[in-house]
């Protein structure tokens, strides 16, 4: 019969608990919130509690720094890179949470369950970030995705919401199937489900065709989650249909988690040994940059604009991803940092401007915003400039990091495409800004804000984000310093506890 090899997941040490604390906090939080809902607490209270819980998760992350890198069984490898990604993801969850109150309070659907799902999705993303094993990868991915199905379609009264939901559901499941089949083939070839195991099996040998096919199919699944061309088509519709905070989450956390695990996986099996994979990735990257920017060119719906721009940005990210090497995790995490910040700033503004019936998604909503609400307009402008990669903003530093990574390894083609396509990008980012400056203060100022407290919190968050954008743009040395220390490990160093 089968010889059952017990992983030492059965006996978990305290260290393991501590190391997984952030994940456990998130998991527990979802349960706790559920209980609170049962206890019929008010939306306001739940929102505050979940805010608190996110903060706790963040803190618990901070105090595991000492024990990094740490391997939990063969499922998780919590190294500094993973920790950083978790931090980013929890941070995004936090941000989404902050913006959610105002947005959902006015909707007729009971907003409370929303937070449960939010925690679950965050958890999934975090699991992805540290997963070192196909199982954990798969679990994380599905926790994330299934949570998202519900979140996207959360405003069930809206046709768009539902449409987006079903589209995402079918496509996600479809792509998961590819992913799984790919995994299966890889497993068939290597006989290992843990990255480390695969690494040992493959060793320095050239990549056998079956494995290659498997990787290719996995790429389809992951590519879908990352929304890179040619797996991008769902993006715009889902971004448009989903509630704004959820869109923000999709744009950031979900992608961040997938990128992290993908990076880890490729690093483990040293995926770019095979020039085939590299070519595929290069093609994907170039296609994403070009197509993404072109699709956004004359788009008049700002959510769709951001969707397409996110496609392009993932393309840029791949420019840093493809070269491989130690610098890649640094570049990737720094770029994600800048990209997250900018994206949240943008979506935050959109959230605040959105009304009960419809989101502020058409560009015309933003005419003369600069003269009506200078603060929000300036924040959105900064976000747009950052996304466009204009100096003085984080976006530029991020792009600079990516370019240095690419050119440093001599990927001139990618670099040039990045530059030229981002020129196209300028046009639509500028269009948003221009719209805000166009016209004059023609309309009367809108009604006084309904929820001063939460509006205040949101504004504070936005200002923090904006400040971060500019700080990262003007004096990024600290951030770079942090990122520089990040390391991505496949097998735990001898010192730490291994299987």
């Amino acid at each position: 019969m089968f010889k059952v090899r017990l992983y030492n997941t059965s006996l978990m040490s305290n260290n393991d608990f501590n190391a997984l604390m952030p994940l456990l906090v998130l998991a527990g939080a979802s349960v706790l919130v559920m209980l609170l809902i049962v206890a019929r607490l008010s939306h306001r209270l739940i929102q505050l509690v979940s805010l608190l819980l996110f903060v706790i998760a963040f803190i618990s992350l901070l105090n595991i720094r000492a024990m990094l890198p740490y391997q939990v069984g063969s499922l998780f490898m919590i190294d500094s890179f993973g920790a950083f990604m978790i931090g980013l993801i929890i941070f995004s969850g936090l941000a989404v949470n902050v913006f959610s109150y105002i947005y959902f309070q006015e909707k007729e659907e009971g907003p409370k369950e929303y937070y449960v799902l939010l925690f679950l999705c965050t958890l999934g993303a975090c699991v992805l970030a540290v997963s070192n094993h196909f199982v954990s990868l798969f679990l994380g991915l599905e926790i994330l995705t299934i949570g998202l199905y519900a979140l996207i379609a959360y405003l069930r009264a809206r046709n768009h919401s539902i449409e987006a939901g079903i589209k995402y559901l079918v496509l996600a499941a479809f792509s998961s199937a590819f992913l799984l089949f790919g995994m299966a083939l890889v497993y068939l070839q290597t006989g290992a489900l843990s990255f480390a195991g695969m690494a040992n099996v493959i060793g320095a040998a050239s990549v056998p065709p079956l494995l290659l096919t498997g990787l290719g199919l996995m790429l389809v699944g992951l590519g879908f989650k990352l929304a890179v061309v040619p797996f991008h088509m769902w993006t715009a519709d889902v971004y448009q249909g989903a509630p704004v905070p959820v869109t923000a989450f999709i744009a950031t956390a979900s992608k961040g988690g997938v990128v992290a695990s993908m990076l880890r996986f490729f690093a483990a099996i040293d995926g770019f040994r095979s020039e085939q994979l590299q070519v595929v990735m290069i093609v994907i990257a170039i296609a994403s940059m070009v197509v993404g920017n072109l699709l956004a060119l004359r788009q008049s719906n700002i959510k769709r604009v951001l969707a397409y721009s996110s496609i392009a940005h993932l393309g840029y990210l791949l420019v840093a991803f493809i070269p491989g090497g130690d610098v890649v995790p640094q570049a990737v995490s720094f770029y994600l940092l800048t990209y997250f910040t900018a994206t949240f700033a943008a979506f935050g503004v959109i959230t605040i401007l959105s009304g009960a019936e419809s989101d502020a998604e058409e560009l015309v909503h933003y005419r003369a915003l600069f003269w009506k609400q200078p603060a929000l307009a300036s924040i959105l402008s900064v976000a747009m400039f950052s996304l466009a990669g204009i100096p003085l903003t984080a976006g530029f530093t991020g792009k600079f990091y990516v370019l240095t990574t690419g050119i440093g390894q001599g990927f001139w083609l990618l670099a040039s495409v990045l530059v030229l396509s981002s020129v196209v990008g300028l046009y639509y980012y500028l269009r948003v800004v221009t719209t805000m400056f166009a016209g004059t203060r023609d309309l009367l100022p809108g009604p006084p804000p309904k929820y001063p407290v939460f509006l205040g919190i949101s504004m504070v968050a936005l200002f923090v984000l904006t400040f971060a954008l500019i700080w990262l743009g003007v004096y990024p040395d600290h951030a770079i310093g942090v990122v520089r220390d990040l390391q991505l490990l496949v097998t735990a160093p001898a010192t730490s506890f291994a299987e």
Partner: protein
């Protein structure tokens, strides 16, 4: 003991099922059938896992299969919920009616 069927055949079967699923998803207009086809694909990959597991004499493949089943179940449940909603709104399950967002 050696499994009675050679791995290659099983994997081939899985591949066929997978392809079948793809075709199903593409050609069917009714959402329910699309979901079914997706399920077929998922199970196909599950089968592949089992095959792989048996090749290496590990239970991991079957473990994965269990996970896949669970995930499929969760997915279908949400899917059906959505389908109900869609039926409320559009009074049909033809996926081609859902084209409000584009461009």
């Amino acid at each position: 003991m050696k499994p009675s069927v050679s791995i290659e055949v099983v994997v081939l079967l899985a591949g066929l099922l997978f392809a079948l699923g793809i075709v199903g998803v593409i050609i069917r207009k009714n959402i329910i059938f699309m979901l079914l086809s997706v399920e077929i694909m998922l199970n196909a990959s599950g089968l592949a896992f089992v095959a792989a597991g048996s090749r290496w004499g590990q239970p991991d493949g079957q473990v994965m299969f269990v996970f896949i089943l669970a995930m499929a179940a969760a997915e279908v449940s949400i899917g059906l919920a959505l389908i109900l909603q869609i039926y409320h709104q559009h009074k049909s399950l033809d996926i081609d009616n859902l084209k409000e967002m584009n461009g």
